[in-house]
Structures are given as C-alpha cells and as structure tokens.
C-alpha cells in the first residue's frame, strides 16, 4: 500500500501499473430479493491496484454487486473472496473484511451527531484500537488530503454536499483500507461539487488504491479506469478497457446505453 506520507505529485505514472495479486475474487455469485433474481452468475476478478468503473441502467444490480463485496447485502449462491478472506456468515469474518474495505455512499452517510474529526477517528479508535492522539493525526492528514482540514471541528450538517462526500472519503481512508468501493458518489451532488469529489478520487487512483466505482461519470471512467464494466438486468454484459469500451462497444445493449448517456 502507498505510504500515507507520499506526496501525490511525486507519484510516477509507472506505479499505476496493475499487479497480478488478486484483491477480490467473485465466483458464480447469485443474489435474490425474495424471488426476484437481482444478480445472476457474476464472475469478477479484481487485481490489486485496479480501478474499475461499473455502469449500467438503474436497477441493473451494480450497487447491489458492490454492496455484496462488504456484505451489506447477502448473496445466496457462489463465493466472494476479499483479500484472501472468504465471505461467510461468520460475523468476525465480515467485520474483518469491512475494516479492510472502505465504502462511500451516494448520500455520504456521515454521522450527524459527531464532528468531522470525530467521524474520521471513530472507527480507527474503536475497531483498530488506535490511540486517540494518533487517530486524530491520521484523520487530519487525510482531511488535508481531501482539502478540508479547516472544517475538522464542524458538524456534517454545516458542510456542503461536496465537502461531505470528501469527508466520507477521508473517513474511509482513515481505516487504511486496501480496497475502496464507491456507490454513485457524485449522484446526489450539484455539478460544481462533482468535480471536487472526482478530483479527490482521481488523486486516490493515482496513488494506486484498488477502486470499484459505480458511477455515471463517463469522463472519470475514461480518465481513471483501467476496466469498465457494463451491467444490465443483473448480469455483466460487457467489460473492456475504457478506450475500447467507449469507442467500440460490442453488445447492442451497451451501444444503446452509451448512445443514451453520451448522446446529449
């Protein structure tokens, strides 16, 4: 993992190279909501350092897929392995995986009764048993990185949406996760705030973080992703490198989706 003290600007593009180490391994995964088949035979291997963008129409199961990875949703068939730990119903196992996998939500889900700093130090102190002082230093470091250290003692309700989402990213980073999941992180934001959040995510990508990102920001996908996955009706329909995916989509469903999303 990248040292937290690394200066972003000094990162060599060469470091962005993807390794052979497997971070997430999903095999033949199926999920049902009652009798409704949401995810069908998902096979996906994510390598360490990969940045994957998942897109698709609403209801296609993309959010459900990444929520299965940290067991916010249960899957009923198949297997998910994160960092070599297999997801089972064992609570210890789930908590271990969750502390290794950071997640950012569409609606930020900051804790409104805690200050920004407390939001960031809570999990390190209680889950990692980090001493308070050290946790606060780490939190300030990441808050500086997302460029809002001066808001540390405010409450989430006093911040703008974009700032809240950046705090949410910092909060996840404070757990020093090896994988980051983003569930439509910019969908609830005003256009001018989208950029500040995407910039933060791009920086994170440049440091070599393994990222899975559900988003409709196709510019971000082009710039950052090394793989784009298109999902429809609970299946992975197509996946490819961004260049090939956008310029030369193979399936008709992908073509239709891209024409709709890029058409205006």
């Amino acid at each position: 993992m990248t040292d937290t003290a690394t200066d972003i600007s000094s990162v060599n593009p060469e470091q962005m190279k993807v390794s052979d180490e497997v971070a997430i391994d999903i095999r033949n995964m199926n999920k049902w909501y009652g009798t409704f088949h949401v995810l069908r035979d998902i096979d996906l291997t994510v390598y360490r350092g990969e940045r994957i963008v998942i897109c698709g129409p609403s209801g296609s199961g993309k959010s459900t897929l990444i929520r299965c990875i940290n067991a916010l949703e249960e899957h009923q068939k198949g297997s998910i392995e994160v960092d070599g730990t297999k997801l089972s119903s064992d609570l210890k196992n789930i908590d271990k995986i969750r502390s290794e996998v950071g997640m950012c939500f569409q609606h930020f889900n900051l804790f409104p009764h805690l200050t920004i700093l407390e939001n960031c130090t809570l999990a390190p102190i209680w889950v990692r048993k980090t001493p308070k002082k050290e946790a606060e230093e780490t939190a300030m470091h990441f808050l500086e990185k997302v460029k809002i250290p001066d808001q540390a003692n405010k409450y989430p309700g006093q911040l703008s949406g974009g700032q809240q989402q950046r705090v949410a990213i910092a909060r996840s980073l404070c757990m020093k996760p090896r994988i980051m999941l983003f569930d439509e992180p910019t969908s609830a934001l005003d256009p001018e705030m989208i950029k500040e959040v995407l910039d933060t995510m791009i920086e994170l990508a440049q440091e070599g973080m393994t990222m899975l990102c559900v988003t409709h920001e196709m510019g971000f996908a082009r710039q950052v992703a090394n793989r784009v996955i298109f999902m429809d009706q609970g299946q992975i329909v197509e996946q490819n490198e961004p260049e090939a995916f956008f310029n030369n989509p193979q399936s008709d469903r992908t073509k239709l989706f891209l024409s709709q999303i890029l058409g205006h």
Binding site: V101, H107, P112, H113, L122
Partner: protein, 434 residues
C-alpha cells in the same frame, strides 16, 4: 452586484443610505396591542371577553389566596380567624408539613437523612443531566444508589457496601471474560455478582456485630409522603430507561426468540392498566412467593412501575430507531464496527435524541402515576392527604388547599423535567441546521 448587471440595467448605486429608526407609531407596546389584541372587531371582542374572564376568576381566587391563614391549630380555629371572609386555610400545610413530605411514620429525629439523600440526589444527577460538568462526578453518581439506600432505610452499612462490592465483582469478572466473547463476559459477570451476594449474606450479620456502623433502621412501610413519590419516581425512571433501550433493541433483533420475548412483554404490559399491576404487586405476588418470604412492598411496586414504564419507553425508542436513515446503519457496518459499537456510538445517540420528547413524556407521566400507590394503601403524598390528614378531626374538609399544594409540588418537578428536556434538545441540535 456585479458591474455586468449594472450595465444591463443602466443604473449604478453611488451612495449608501444610512440606517434610520422606524416611525414612532410602529414601535412599542401600543403597536403590539393594536396588531395582536385589537386587529379586528372579532379580535377586540375576544380580547375584552378574555379580560372579563380573567377578572372574574381573579375576583374570587385572589382574595382566597391572599387572605389565606397560615397559622392555626385546626380548621375551626382557622374559620374563627377568617370570621366569615373568603380565605384559604393554608395552616394545614404548615401544621402537617412533615407528614406531607415524609409520611406519618418516619421517625422525626431522622428527617435529616432523607433530606440529605435528596440534596445528594441533585449532586448525583447533575453530571448525568449536564455533560459539561467534569466526568469524574459520575463516580459519585455510581455510588449514590447505595448511599441513598443507607441514608433512607438505615440499618447496617455493610448491606449496601456488600451490594456495591457485588457489582464491582461482577464488573471485574465481565472485564476478564469479555475478551473471549461478550455473552460469556455478561453471564460470567452476573454469576460472579450473585455468588458474591450469596456469600456475603452469611458474612453480613456477623460483620455487623463485630464492626457495627449503622443508622436506626426504618422499614419500608414507614416511608410516605412526597418522599415516597420521589423515591419511586427517581428509581423507576432511572431503571426503566436502560431496560426500555434493551427492549427496543430486542424487538428489532434478528434473533426470533429474543424478538418474540420482547414483543410479548411490551404488548402485554401496555395492554394492562398500571393500577392492575399495582394490585398484583400488593396482593397476588405474595401467592407466588414461597411462604414466609417477606418481599418488600416498595420493591414490588418499583418492579411493577418499572416494567410498565420500560414497555412504553421501549416503544418510544423503537420509533426513534425506525426514524434513523438506513444509511447510518450501513455506514457503521461498512466501517467494521460490531453490533454493540454501532448501537452505542452511532445509532443510540441519534435515536435517543429523536426520542427525547417521548421519553420525557413517559417520565413525567410515570412520576405522576406514582400517586396511584395510594390506592394500594401506601401513604404517598396523595395517600397522606386522603388518609391521615383529611380523616383527622382537625382538618376534615380542607380539600382545596391540600390538593392545590400537592398539585403545585408535582407541577414544579414535572415542569422542571419538561424544561430540561427542551434545553437538552437545543443542546443536541447539531446536525440538521446549517
């Protein structure tokens, strides 16, 4: 604004108009009256009618209140002093003050003990109610129940001391075993505490003889007056809040057995009038206990009122839990917090904050419901008034003054609780305002 705007309209503001006071007719009491009391004909009529109603009420209640007699031996003496004029006979409150506050059996030379316990209650409650006070004061809060028990009931000091040490033993057992699993720590702690109490049951009588530190014992049946209401209210509110939280969490539990136990308990208790439960405590419970056991009546009443209030508080808190967005649970989960941590650090602080008005509602209701114990012949404040005082030949027939006084005491406490809760809500109001 910007110069582009100015150009498009063709106008530039060059000078700043200095602020000036509003016209005189638009300020002060006159304006307020015109706008609020006499804004229309209907409004003016209502205002005048309202003033007449207030005058009518004050014309007979004020002389009665102000002309009140505070110094008299009994009702007939009081009437002599009044000599046919309208006036209250407040002398009953002065003469029976101790009975109203402490009941008629509490030994009068020991009145300082419940009074001291009451003063210490204020000290003990302060750090719980006001988070700005030093947290070290909570140590005293933890010790307070045992101090208060010793002060009010008296007897040997070793009883509350060993009770306290039992809790300490349970806590250390819990800490020791908690590392293996929470459930093991919990049950280990409970077993350790009970084992300690069981053993100390043999030691206490001898130890009390060898090192006698004690206050004259006052049995539970001698408790009475407003003191009894305060004891019941304080104990039941402080016990029913944690039990209510556990019941609310249990009702939302994933485990069917726990869930159903909580649902049945809550629904059963809520479906039964409190007075029924109190009769059960008074009469029926004795049938289920082994013959010869004397199970303190106050303790039985405390158990019943606590069960009753905790069922209501559980429902209030369940509402608070349900009102939290699902994202809060998910965010806590996604950070790797376990169930206990997520509840304690994220969910409950927010759910309880939402539930404050409801909890206070239950607490105020509970405090007033403590007067129901007068029905099962306990002499709380209302019991004292209805029984010994009104039945005495001296004061037979002074209803208004006594019940007004009782109402006033309860009002002061309940209004205080309500004001505190509103203050607390404002204090906790961080997240939602920008």
């Amino acid at each position: 604004m910007s110069d582009t705007h100015a150009q498009s309209v063709g106008f530039v503001q060059k000078t700043q108009i200095p602020p000036s006071p509003p016209p005189a007719a638009e300020t002060g009491a006159f304006k307020w009256m015109r706008e609020n009391l006499f804004s229309s004909t209907a409004n003016a009529i209502m205002t005048i009618l309202g003033i007449l109603a207030i005058y009518w009420f004050a014309s007979f209640s004020l002389p009665w209140l102000l002309n009140g007699v505070w110094d008299a031996e009994n009702l007939s003496q009081c009437r002599e002093i009044l000599d046919g004029t309208s006036g209250a006979c407040f002398a009953v409150i002065a003469e029976r003050w101790n009975q109203l506050i402490f009941g008629f059996q509490y030994p009068s030379e020991e009145y300082w003990r419940p009074f001291l316990a009451f003063l210490l209650l204020l000290v003990a409650a302060a750090p719980v109610l006001f988070s700005k006070l030093p947290r070290k004061m909570l140590i005293f809060t933890g010790l307070y129940p045992f101090i208060a028990f010793f002060l009010i009931w008296g007897g040997s000091i070793w009883v509350p001391v060993f009770a306290l040490l039992g809790f300490v033993a349970g806590y250390f057992a819990f800490k020791k075993l908690e590392k293996q699993s929470f459930a093991m720590g919990f049950f280990g702690g409970v077993i350790a505490a009970f084992a300690f109490w069981w053993v100390s049951g043999f030691i206490t009588p001898d130890l009390s003889r060898i090192i006698p530190i004690d206050l004259p014992a006052v049995p539970s049946r001698d408790m009475g007056g407003f003191m009894l209401n305060l004891i019941l209210g304080t104990v039941c509110i402080s016990l029913s809040l944690p039990i209510g939280i556990l019941l609310a969490l249990g009702r939302r539990s994933q485990m069917p057995l726990i869930k159903w136990i909580c649902v049945i308990f809550i629904e059963f208790i809520r479906g039964v009038p409190l007075i029924t439960l109190l009769f059960v405590a008074n009469v029926v419970l004795a049938y289920f206990l082994p013959p010869g056991t004397t199970f303190d009546l106050i303790l039985r009443v405390i158990i019943m009122i606590t069960m009753f209030a905790s069922a209501y508080i559980a429902e209030v808190i369940r509402g608070g839990l349900a009102a939290l967005p699902k994202g809060q649970y998910e965010a806590a989960d996604s950070l790797g917090l376990d169930y206990a941590q997520a509840m304690r650090l994220i969910i409950l602080p927010q759910a309880l904050k939402i539930s404050i008005p409801g909890i206070v509602n239950v607490a105020v209701g509970l405090f007033k419901d403590t007067t129901l114990v007068s029905v099962i012949s306990m002499f709380d404040m209302v019991g004292m008034i209805r029984g010994p005082i009104l039945a005495s030949t001296d004061w037979n027939g002074v209803y208004w003054e006594l019940f007004l006084f009782a109402a006033l005491l309860f009002f002061v406490v309940c209004y205080g609780i309500s004001q505190y809760s509103q203050w607390l809500e404002r204090q906790l109001n961080t997240g939602h305002s920008r």
